[in-house]
Symmetry: C2
Subunit: 304 residues, 2 copies
Amino acid sequence: MITNLRQMADTVRSSGIKKRIAVAWAQDPNTIGSLHRAVKEGFAEAIMIGRHEQILATCKETGADPQCFTLVESPDEKSAAELAVSLTRDSEADVAMKGLVGTDKFLRAVMDREKGLLPPKTVMSYACAVEIPAYHKLLFITDTAVIPFPDLDQKVAMARYAVEMARRFGIEKPRVALIGASEKVSDHFPNTLDYQEMCRMAERGQIPDCIMDGPVDLFLACDPESVRIKGVDTPLAGDADILLFPSLESCNPFYKGLMLFGGGELAGMICGTSKPVVLMSRSESELSKYYCVALACLMASQKT
Amino acid sequence: MITNLRQMADTVRSSGIKKRIAVAWAQDPNTIGSLHRAVKEGFAEAIMIGRHEQILATCKETGADPQCFTLVESPDEKSAAELAVSLTRDSEADVAMKGLVGTDKFLRAVMDREKGLLPPKTVMSYACAVEIPAYHKLLFITDTAVIPFPDLDQKVAMARYAVEMARRFGIEKPRVALIGASEKVSDHFPNTLDYQEMCRMAERGQIPDCIMDGPVDLFLACDPESVRIKGVDTPLAGDADILLFPSLESCNPFYKGLMLFGGGELAGMICGTSKPVVLMSRSESELSKYYCVALACLMASQKT
């Protein structure tokens, strides 16, 4: 079982995995730095799409060896995004990654019905593995970035994707906490009605390979002492692996709070696409981008 | 300016404030311990409502001197809650506090139209001051506990209460961050439309004494480095005092994350009532309850 991100990257590095990453508009320093490291460590090949001149200039600036990369010339952001996606779709690459291109443009290419990476009627979501010094293992969190107010079907898909990710980290039966403000099911909180239905689905095996409970608050999900004091009988036992949130407005500040005030570090990716898609904010660190690349390579590798 | 909770309690202690707290169903050890300390330190008098026998037994158990308290016999939770509220309403006490009574029963007494503490048509909300080692000052957060999905009027009231609280900590013009998943106003996130309106109201002086901006994500609110990288021109400048959240499902896991993973400590209270009301979870620590009592005494004292 992988319990931190360093160990995740080491696992990828030592497992003989080697995946090809197609990067859209690849000229920013953090993207180049993270991919340079992944290529040097042997688990990635990088196809850097953008303006040769700019990419070479950034390589010089950051001390990255441009010989590590395959450079593909592209005139603008939109073309770069479309090319990264089509290379991945045509299996010239295993992973599509956003560089300096705007999120909207990049996602439009990913979601294109004809030429994109999203199978019809598939829910697209986002899950990440967060490492926090104050927790004894990784916390998988969803959805930090994509679905504003997930309905029942979307929540089910979110849970499945996160379970699949956690299992690739060696957690055979991850504990999924459906997060609310308390453990009470109530009409005043429609999400808790979805949660109730999801727990039934998990019991019936419709959401397989996990132990699910909710609604629970964060304390019942992650703090055994609170479980004891409140006397709530939950199979999560304060030892959750996965936290599923009721909305983007709920999940996004939560994970950012962990980053800013809990010393957190993360690796995340788009879920639901036919191939892994790496999408990060421009302001993410080189280390975070490196972890995302490693995670995408892990998820792109043959399922065990 | 008060920048941590220890300093807040010290300020109350050294200011000559002395307030009377009426505690409903007062027999649990944390409640008795926290009030014992507040009474010993001279800023509170405590009217402990409940079964004498049980209160005396807990005093013995915890080493608290029962002579510090005024004991008032009450046969059950409901009567105890009603009595704590009516004593406060009739100015026999300055603060009403929940002991071991259930939250629902306690709030019913507080919200009673005839005998309660909530003026007609007043929004009731909850605000707390959170101390986190990784932030350079207190963060005031609302609403962690009461309003599930606040509408515009409720959000405005939440902002006003939090501003009033922050100003009592010596922050003359607190910076209010209206928290979303990003800085974009969008129909897909109806709360961001309320935020837009609130910023206009703040500019017009309808929400006075504050610097307000939103929607912003947590990074723009609390991290100057993110403000610089993203190039967003916000008067918050990554130095927010107050975080207003779009829903209870958003605020509740956020503050619990700070407690559990960020080493946080808090003091909170009900806002909107005619007198301060202290309401905490049974599982809160003695120190948290002590800070809540100190906060209520501060807020009950003459406005400066």
